[in-house]
């Protein structure tokens, strides 16, 4: 019995269709597995992602254009399922969003065999 490459690839395809949105927040508290979403979500940045899969990986592009979410500080980011549940929460350096910039965020997720 073995999990096939084809099976892992199907998981990636399905996952790419399950994740629909991404969102920025201004919270800076380090993430924990019991988090249920962003600490301080920035509502205007809740936008649909462009999803794709390649082999055993799925990738999500989230774009905030120049007229959206200005005056906010981007600090935490999450991917969301279509029902609003969060998949992950990422903390890192902060970014002051203004009308002079567009921000693109790319997240990659892999399905692997783990021994």
């Amino acid at each position: 019995m073995v999990v096939l490459n084809e099976g892992l690839e199907r998981l990636a395809v399905n996952f790419a269709s399950d994740i629909t949105n991404g969102q920025w927040g201004s919270g800076t508290t380090l993430p924990t597995t019991s988090d249920t979403g962003l600490e301080t979500a920035i509502g205007a940045s809740l936008l649909a992602v462009t999803a794709s899969s390649s082999g055993t990986q799925a990738q999500f592009n989230h774009e905030v254009d120049s007229v959206t979410a200005n005056g906010n500080t981007f600090a935490e980011f999450e991917l969301q399922f279509s029902n609003g549940d969060s998949f992950n929460r990422v903390i890192g350096g902060t970014f002051a969003k203004t009308s002079s910039v567009e921000v693109v965020t790319i997240t990659t997720v892999s399905f692997i065999r783990s021994s």
Partner: protein, 220 residues
Amino acid sequence: MGITTSGTDIQQTRDEIGSEPSVQGIYKIKTETVAVEEGPTLSKSRSIAGDVMIWGNDDFGVWNSSKWGSAPDITFILGNTLAAILGTSKLGDQSSEYVVWRVTNPNKTYHERFGFDTFNDTDVTTADWDTDNQKLDFTNAEIAQSIQVYKGTATITKATMSLTGTGTTNLALQLSTDGSSWENVTDGTQHTFTTTGTALYFKITASGVASLTKIQIAYQ
């Protein structure tokens, strides 16, 4: 034959089946685990500041003030044979290049599995970054170089680069914290940087044939 019709039939059926075997089958269960690996999250920004017109933007869409383009041979200038190439020329000035401002990796470990070329520095890489087959193939003298695989506020002082694949002894590995000062590293051995910084790049140079299915870089 109906086995419930009489005791004789039941006994006959038992005889036909025979006694239980003295050797019993032993089944071993091999556990397989499929994991979801959260990969890097890269954020980049593009400045639209300047004097080029951006339709619908309050600051850069000012009629009779903003320009359609200002950089010869780079921005799109209608009617110009060198600067009016659809799919190549840009609407905007040179400042409109994306700049990576953050790359975050779970557990301070970057995993590259080649399904996407997000981190491939295509201006430098000559090796075959094969997203269809999720591998990175080298022939002699070919190079693979990344953009930032980490970018943040923490200073990187140490890192361990590990390869999975074939022909890895044909590969010379280098890491950099600024994209210009490259330091030699050994596969699977922790390296302490001479030049520290808040970013991380990798570079691989081949002296023969090799093929990688994974690159892992743990840093601190």
